[in-house]
């Protein structure tokens, strides 16, 4: 209903649109819509709803942000829509997931690339973790690597799909360890991939740190390693892959943030880039995110631009052989 109200509000405002020669000083004059390319209830949707909940405050944007879900095909549907059909007027934002959308654009078949969007700010960074069932014989990353080396292509490893962070982590592990794994993409995202690990359908899994942390708390899985540059505050005892001797960097970390379609007026981009990071740093937002086990990582527009460029380079190299 919120979407509908926002839609109705937008339609009404369209009738009374005045010239915006004032350098967008009054932006935003009406509620803003943010497209999330995953379904309601997913990790991205859940976090997007939390980080935008204070946008109506006077010290933030002063206007509420309504979430619009456009799920399908691992995010491609929503991002295609944002790049091709959404209006670049500053009232349509989108949530991004890196490396997902960059990897998809490198593999082709979509109507967007990193150049189709302008980043605003980053709110979260969810590293990939390597999980095994609670009764698994694997206890360290080395056990897994040894098995994969001795049995090429036999280590079944679930993940949320092809060309998402989990897949990138698997590819990096194969490259770093000189080994071959059997990566099993599941339909139904991280939850289905985690179920496959807990039920023993697969021998190991790569999943989000937030979901892995929860499953480990519930006593269903063991987390063997984190694919990031340093240990995570949620899991201080779990080593990074690098510490365990596998040269895997943070290219698979799932960065989530806000972007707008290319063509959005520069004045609006500047205003959003100045306001949105402080909105993410609001203590209520941080509290809810921490309670939900979602790691926060606020980055401003310039930092995100640099991160996108670096990812694109790494991914092009990694995916070239596929």
């Amino acid at each position: 209903m919120k979407n509908l109200l926002a839609g109705a509000a937008i339609a009404l405002m369209g009738l009374t649109q005045t010239a915006t020669a004032d350098g967008h000083a009054n932006y935003p004059e009406r509620p803003i819509m943010m497209m999330v390319s995953y379904g309601a209830g997913g990790a991205t949707d859940f976090q997007a709803r939390i980080v935008t909940m204070t946008s109506g405050n006077e010290d933030a944007l002063g206007m509420p942000i309504a979430i619009l879900n456009k799920p399908g095909a691992g995010g491609r549907v929503g991002w295609n829509w944002l790049a091709g059909q959404a209006e670049a007027d500053g009232y349509t934002l989108g949530a991004y997931n890196v490396p997902h959308f960059i990897a998809q654009s490198i593999k082709g078949g979509v109507e967007y690339s990193a150049a189709s969007f302008e980043p605003i700010a980053n709110w979260g960074a969810d590293p990939a973790v390597l999980v095994v069932g609670k009764d698994s014989e694997f206890n360290t990353l080395q056990d897994v690597v040894d098995f994969a080396k001795a049995n090429p292509g036999k280590l079944t490893t679930s993940g949320a799909g092809l060309f998402v962070g989990h897949h990138i982590a698997a590819l990096q592990m194969e490259k770093a360890g000189g080994m071959k794994m059997a990566y099993i993409p599941t339909k139904g995202g991280g939850a289905a991939a985690m179920k496959a690990v807990i039920a023993g359908d697969v021998m190991a899994g790569i999943n989000n740190l937030s979901d892995g942390f929860r499953a480990a708390q519930a006593g269903n899985v063991k987390i063997l390693a984190v694919a990031d540059l340093e240990r995570n505050e949620f899991l201080p005892d779990v080593p990074t892959m690098m510490e365990s001797g596998l040269a895997v960097d943070n290219a698979s970390v799932n960065f989530r943030g806000v972007m707008v379609p290319k063509g959005t007026p520069q004045g609006i981009i500047d205003k959003l880039a100045a306001t949105v990071p402080t909105m993410f740093e609001n203590s209520r937002v941080a509290g809810k995110m921490k309670a939900g086990g979602s790691p926060m990582h606020v980055m401003n527009r310039d930092e995100v631009l640099a991160m996108w460029a670096a990812r694109e380079e790494t991914l092009k190299e990694l995916l070239a052989g596929l």
């Binding site: 209830g41 939390i50 179920k195």
Partner: protein, 503 residues
Amino acid sequence: MEFIYYFGDVFTPINFGLLLLGTIGGLILGATPGLSPTMAVALLIPFTFQLEAAQGLILLGAAYTSTVAGGAVSAILLKIPGAPANIATTLDGHAMALKGEGAKALQLSFLSSAVGGVFGVLLLIFLTPVLAQWALAFGPSHLFWLAILGVTVIGSLDSASVVKGLLSGCIGLWLATIGFDDIMGAQRFIFHPSLGGGINIIAALIGLFAIPQVITMFAKGRKNDGNEAIQVQKHPIKSAVSELFRYKRAMGIGTITGSIIGLIPGVGGQIAGLVAYDQSKKFSPDKDKFGTGHPEGLIAAESANNAMVGPSLVPLLTLSIPGSPTAAVLLGGLLIHGIFPGTDLFDNHPDVAWTFINSMLIGQILMCIFGLYVAGMAARVAQVPQSVMAAIVLGLAVFGSYSVQASMGDVYVMASLGVMMYFLERFGFSAAPLVLGLILGPIAESNFIQGSMIATATDGLAPYFLTGALNLFLIVVVVLSVLYSGYMELRTRRYTSKEEIMG
């Protein structure tokens, strides 16, 4: 018995008020075409930010329970199934409404929803640890066979002829392939950007069921023959209750099938109603009456789709794995308060866990009471003249398919599928098998691909798909189901004259 200690918490003024609010709001949202239970729960999440954990969950749990039941209202009166759970309800429910038994159909549907729902929640209370293991037992190979089992009933579901049933099933299976394939990311049959995400199931449901009916109503024109509207017979609740007890078998089959299927992550809710409908048809002596407004079919479908609610939360509450989209939204409602489902929930927050579960139990009963109250009034919808009705249904259909993800593309999909279905229906094809194909196609396909990837990495295709107790059991059931359909088809032929077959 721990749950009894927390019953008091449900009846504090605020909690009970929220429960009432969730139930009544849920019934209304559920009765609105296009607002599936998942959507309704997702819409309520922002409100729970301000509430305490237990209160928020009471609101969400009550809304979940009653949207599932509320979907029956539009399914029965307008032939628009609000969610896949209500497809089977339309088959006999709408036929009953056309006969003037709308009030009776609604009463039966709310009563059987309550019985099924209470049973499902009781299972959740008493058997959670056992059920959790059962939910995990279904791997890709088992889900594949389960989907194939679903395919075997396509032929016999709501069609006069098995061949036509199978053909519409095939159309459904083909429609399911449209869009980006979710596992490999391949693009199939995308001729228009609005097909990129595939055919949205809610939009398809609305189009396939409601549009042919709208066209038929418009086609009649404004004939002033006086009996354009259907009379609604009053039906006392007492006799609805005794009617319910007359169909204990359908009730039992519906409740048990719904509970078992609801457990299975990723499949459950969508097909529980249809499978229960098909099973009770097979075991009923009045097979021929199914589809013509027979209460048994309605009772089986509605008890199944509410029985599924409780068990569908088992994987979420015990293993922290959301087994359905609605469970995923509920997970968000828990996480926002820093509560992790799983052992943490029952050990450290028993008040939250049990208040939530208890409120679903009370919610089922409240839903039934309000439902019965509404049934008498809502049934009058059938008295609206058909020409007016057609316009209203068309409006609701457009609104419903647009509101799923605020996309005009879904409206186009809804409209084109609807027009196609109108012509197919004129040739004796039916929407139910088509929708079943649309639902089962992706389940069968993705589990086969996933299973074969695991199989090739381990011990090969044949051992993976064809060995193991559960696989063998499912294969035997599939074979039996095929044999049964063949036998029934032969028997009907023997007793039907050649003219009737040709006709």
